[in-house]
């Protein structure tokens, strides 16, 4: 059991990263009941936006100083693509059968990958992403925190806090909740629900960019396909936590991140399951967790029962 604290720390870093992406799925779903399957690509675009800033800055600028600008550049790219997708791909399909926007999302996802592959310089293979140099932080003798993980562990709670306050306290946040609960009635109140929908996509895009920078820092590289598995995991996290609920998305992300990390640490010690542990199986265990939660608690950890929505 001596690995437990380390598993929790590493799992938390991975999980908050998933959570940031899951927010994008859950906010859009909460308001327009659309699963934006191109959201993984919004993350990827954010990564390339941040990388562009890094490459553009002079070599003498240290990563710590560059980070805010990279986040800004990544967020600009992600938000622009996410809101353009809403305006030109999803909005014309509002009121269409549910399959239409879903297929559009998958098409958009492929198109965005291929656009980056084709037009971003040298993006046909992975591009290296800057990382912090130096040893991991020692929390206790056997528990370490990677320098590059510190970023997401600071950024994710700050993002969450800001979003939570915005939704609960601000006038626009209240309009957002109203739109999620009853869009037609929200319009009767004078709320421009089209604007609220754009805002949901934009917030999801901004969070995606933060997650993209975190991913780049952790892996030391980004590529045009990175959004696929990340998107799938984050979607899992959103469903796990209860789709439509922002705190659920973060909780689902953390549970998934810890479960995934724990599976690589512990499962190989279970007699008879040695060959089912290790890094290669972590995705399998992540989705096994999803299946179990859906069987036991279909509405997700913090989800409302469907009857409440009527």
């Amino acid at each position: 059991m001596h690995e437990l604290p380390q598993t929790l720390v590493s799992g938390l870093a991975l999980g908050t990263l998933y959570g940031l992406i899951a927010i994008g799925y859950t906010m859009v779903y909460g308001i327009v009941q659309l699963i934006n399957f191109a959201h993984g690509e919004i993350v990827m675009i954010g990564g390339f936006g941040a990388l562009t800033i890094w490459l553009w800055l002079p070599d003498s600028v240290p990563l710590t100083a560059a980070l805010p600008l990279m986040l800004l550049g990544g967020a600009l790219a992600s938000v622009a693509v996410a809101t353009a997708a809403e305006r030109f791909a999803y909005r014309p399909l509002r009121g269409a059968p549910r399959l239409a926007p879903l297929i559009t999302a998958i098409g958009l996802s492929i198109a965005l990958q291929q656009l980056v592959w084709a037009f971003y310089p040298d993006a046909k293979k992975s591009r290296s992403f800057p990382q912090f140099h130096g040893d991991a932080f020692e929390i206790t003798g056997s528990v370490h925190l990677q320098r590059d993980d510190l970023f997401v562990l600071v950024a994710a709670p700050l993002c969450m806090l800001a979003l939570g306050l915005f939704v609960a306290r601000s006038r626009t946040g209240r309009a957002m909740q109203a739109t999620a609960q009853d869009p037609d009635t929200a319009r009767l109140m004078g709320i421009d629900t089209d604007r609220i929908i754009v805002l949901a996509f934009a917030i999801g895009g901004a969070f995606a960019a933060v997650a993209a920078v975190a991913t780049g820092l952790r892996a030391g590289q980004i590529n045009f396909e990175m959004g696929f598995v990340l998107g799938l995991k984050a979607f899992t996290a959103a469903v796990l936590g209860g789709i439509g609920n922002i705190y659920g998305a973060m909780l689902g992300g953390v549970v998934l991140g810890i479960a995934e990390t724990a599976s690589t640490t512990y499962i190989q010690h279970i007699p008879g399951m040695q060959q089912l542990g290790g890094g290669g199986w972590k995705d399998v265990w992540a989705f096994v967790l999803l299946i179990v939660v859906l069987l036991v608690r279909p509405q997700g950890l913090l989800g409302e029962r469907v009857a409440d929505r009527a």
Binding site: R174, Q177, T185, A186, R187, L188, M189
Partner: protein
Amino acid sequence: MTAPLLEVEDLRVAYGKIEAVKGISFTVEAGQVVTLVGTNGAGKTTTLRTLSGLLTPLAGTIRFDGRPLTGVPAHQVVARGLAHSPEGRHIFPRLTIAENLQLGAFLRKDTDGIAQDTRRVYELFPILGERARQAAGTLSGGEQQMLAMGRALMSRPKLLMLDEPSMGLSPIMMQKIMDTIAELKASGTTILLVEQNARAALSLADRGHVMEIGRIVLSGTGAELLHDESVRKAYLGED
């Protein structure tokens, strides 16, 4: 003679190929209570939803407060002074009662006026004041109806549209809601009331219109319609 507050002329509304409202005309004068009565599917709710911009008419014109209202998007209608308390109440269940009322005043900036109107709603419906911090979804059906009406009043409307305010309520609660509408009328509020409970609605109304499958088949003062033979038979359950 001044123009009526609301003028609806030859309004036609369809869902796909099915025409739900087939050319109706009526007016509401400032200070009046006008009611649309009729059975399910007569087109009453469709009419209100078109007035508030949630549905787009096929044809016809709507003039409100001297200006055309046709084609104005729903979120701009309330700014023009027309508030709609929808059928089935549609309160925001996971927001508190106070938050629901604040949303009713979403476009207003006059903090003092909003506070004053909130107090007025709590005076009208004391139960809402007692439970101001509670989630609206926890209220009973009648209390939700009070909230929906209070929320609509929070925009200080020139015209208040109430869709089936007595639907699904106990007789006591229904009486309470009808008394409140009478109280609002006495204070000078202009109301367009849609009701299946024709007797209650016509007793309150200055004018009534009977709708049947998308058309107005009979119009008159509330009292005239209450005593009309065909109305008594069809809508008041008398032989």
